[in-house]
């Protein structure tokens, strides 16, 4: 990726040199005025993003709105905001074991998966970004196919594999199963970040007498700290949002919140308020971290290739 950046910068320098030449013949204010006339910098630029964001937020608002209502209010009348706001739904979730253990289970396996994925991906990504070795390209491609593989294909064999090992309904089973798509994701993202670090840094460190593990932990990891953060975030997120495999591999003790939501709804009729409150609580991890990763979201989804 470093190459790409360098090229853009070089283009930028050539371009700006040319533009400066031309700009000198125009006055600065004249140029500013012309620039401002460009479509997206007109006075009305905010209309499109604002409309889009309103459309995005409306369904989310509706869920939050419902989570503060009683079931009677939800079913009997359509109110745009809770007329008798109640925290009863949230209270149920935080006090009933069936509900809060769902969150604890989800967080347990998600964190386990995140730690496993990122720690095995770090050395592998380093190897891919620095060395050529027998079969490297095939291996890199094969990793990608696992990231792209439909979870539905793996649901049944996973169930049988983990049954054979007696791991059904444990957190580690789900954590390992999610490695299927999270390890390749972490490798691809980290490789993208690592390729941005110039190779001279490695060489200098080796000349200074650093051993590989010491160099990796003391010098290299701080350099790609943001990359590690982004990889962790995306492992967390993709494991957090996955339902099919998590639901297949668990029955009671490790049942994730996502599965708790679907089952309870079908069992106890329709407790809409409770369902909405449970949904709102699953949004929180994403909403909490989103500010810190805002500049990396496109990069993470594009496997570090943007």
């Amino acid at each position: 990726m470093a190459g790409a950046n360098e090229r853009t910068e070089r283009n930028a320098m050539n371009g700006s040199a040319a533009a400066e030449g031309l700009a000198s013949s125009l006055s600065q204010s004249e140029l500013d005025k012309r620039m401002r006339r460009r479509g997206e910098e007109s006075r009305w630029w905010w209309i499109v993003p604002t409309l889009y964001i309103i459309v995005l937020l409306l369904p989310i608002y509706w869920l939050i709105n419902m989570s503060f209502k009683t079931n009677a209010e939800i079913v009997n009348s359509l109110t745009l905001y809770p007329h008798a706001p109640t925290l009863a739904n949230y209270y149920t979730i935080f006090t009933e074991k069936v509900w809060y253990s769902g969150y604890i289970n989800s967080i347990t396996y998600v964190v386990m998966n995140m730690v496993i994925s990122v720690s095995v991906a770090l050395p592998a990504a380093y190897a891919f970004s620095r060395y050529r070795f027998l079969g490297d390209k095939h291996l890199f491609f094969w990793l990608l196919t696992n990231r792209m593989a439909p979870p539905a294909v793996f649901a049944l064999p996973f169930f049988q594999l983990y049954s054979a090992f007696g791991l059904i309904d444990t957190h580690i089973a789900v954590a390992l199963a999610h490695c299927l798509f999270n390890v390749p994701l972490a490798v691809w993202i980290l490789e993208g970040f690592m390729s941005g670090v110039p190779k001279e840094i490695d060489e200098t460190a080796y000349i200074d007498g650093y051993s590989f593990p010491r160099f990796f932990v003391k010098i290299f990891m701080p350099l790609i700290a943001s990359g590690i953060g982004v990889a962790c975030f995306f492992c967390f997120m993709f494991s957090w949002v996955e339902l099919l495999i998590a639901r297949t591999l668990t029955t009671t003790d490790a049942k994730p919140i996502a599965a708790t939501m679907t089952r309870t709804v079908s069992a106890s009729g329709m407790d809409w308020g409770l369902l909405a409150a449970a949904g709102v609580l699953t949004l929180i991890p994403g909403a909490l971290v989103i500010w810190f990763v805002r500049n990396y979201i496109a990069k993470g989804f594009a496997l570090g290739r943007v």
Partner: protein
């Protein structure tokens, strides 16, 4: 970057290899194994050869799910890509608007998929949902539970709501990498808004657009959770996509042979698409 040839790097890759072999290769081998065998329970298996594959490729149910899935993928691509480009072009380039837009727009991407389903299940209902209630109030007969067309519209709108932001963010990343000098030069040459888009912005976005199209195609091709939560594949079979059909066969009916054959065909299609993705990526990287 010129890389040195070093086969010892294999030791660094080994942990990943072992882990992914356990999570991917063994299950996949099981699938291959089942796909050529027949069973009547009790772990007694008999050789079935290519029987399941022949059944699968001649069954209407599989092809219907496949066609449905392809139509779905093309519709959402046709909506999300132009819409994404349009919104990205109108996003602010500097100032306080940038982080606000980025954060609010990425919100749907980080919602668990089943909650996305729940949100739209609730939002579209005509008794308690804002959308369904007001559509019916203004005289549009909308009921996604019973009407296949409405179910399709709901699922497409949901997917557009869920994933357009990804296209927006990718395009935006491509757009901000264009140096201002390009626009200045275009302005001085008196280029029209369209010419700027066609000859500067679009070529610069080519790579990110390819990534966006491929990612969206692959993800929509294996969509499961959201339509499962909203419609459960119904009404009838009208929204039964490949993944939903596969899970019904594999975990609902425990038909190991047919499910395995279907998994393999499905996986091969994804493999082909991944190869296209990979080739595109490496070609671009080689060009730099």
């Amino acid at each position: 970057m010129d890389k040195t040839w070093n086969n010892k790097a294999w030791f660094l890759v080994l942990p990943v290899l072992v882990l992914v072999a356990f999570t991917a290769v063994i299950p996949l081998m099981t699938v291959v194994n089942y796909s050529v065998q027949d069973t009547f329970g009790n772990n007694v298996f008999t050789w079935a050869g290519t029987e399941w594959f022949e059944d699968l490729l001649s069954s209407g149910r599989f092809w219907e799910a496949m066609v449905r899935n392809l139509i779905f993928s093309f519709i959402i691509l046709a909506i999300e890509v132009p819409l994404g480009i349009f919104i990205a072009l109108n996003m602010p380039k500097k100032g306080w608007g940038v982080p606000v837009c980025l954060v609010l727009m990425s919100l749907p991407l980080l919602i668990p998929w089943n909650v996305v389903g729940t949100i739209w299940q609730v939002f579209g209902r005509n008794d308690i949902g804002l959308l369904g209630y007001y559509l019916n109030a203004i005289g549009i007969d909308y009921n996604y539970v019973q009407d296949p067309f409405d179910a399709w519209v709901t699922i497409i709108v949901m997917d557009v709501w869920h994933w357009t932001s990804l296209v927006v963010l990718l395009c935006y990343a491509g757009l901000v990498s264009i140096p201002d000098a390009f626009y200045q030069a275009a302005k001085i040459d008196g280029a029209s808004r369209w010419a700027v888009f066609r000859y500067i912005q679009l070529p610069k976005m080519q790579r990110v657009l390819l990534i966006a199209v491929l990612l969206r195609f692959m993800d929509s091709f294996m969509i499961y959770t959201e339509p499962f939560v909203v419609t459960g594949g119904g009404p009838g079979n009208s929204t039964t996509f490949l993944s939903i059909d596969l899970v019904k066969t594999a975990l609902g009916q425990f038909d190991l042979g047919p499910a395995a054959a279907m998994s393999l065909v499905y996986f091969l299609i994804i493999l082909l698409l991944s190869w296209v993705f990979y080739t595109v990526m490496t070609n671009y990287d080689a060009e730099r």
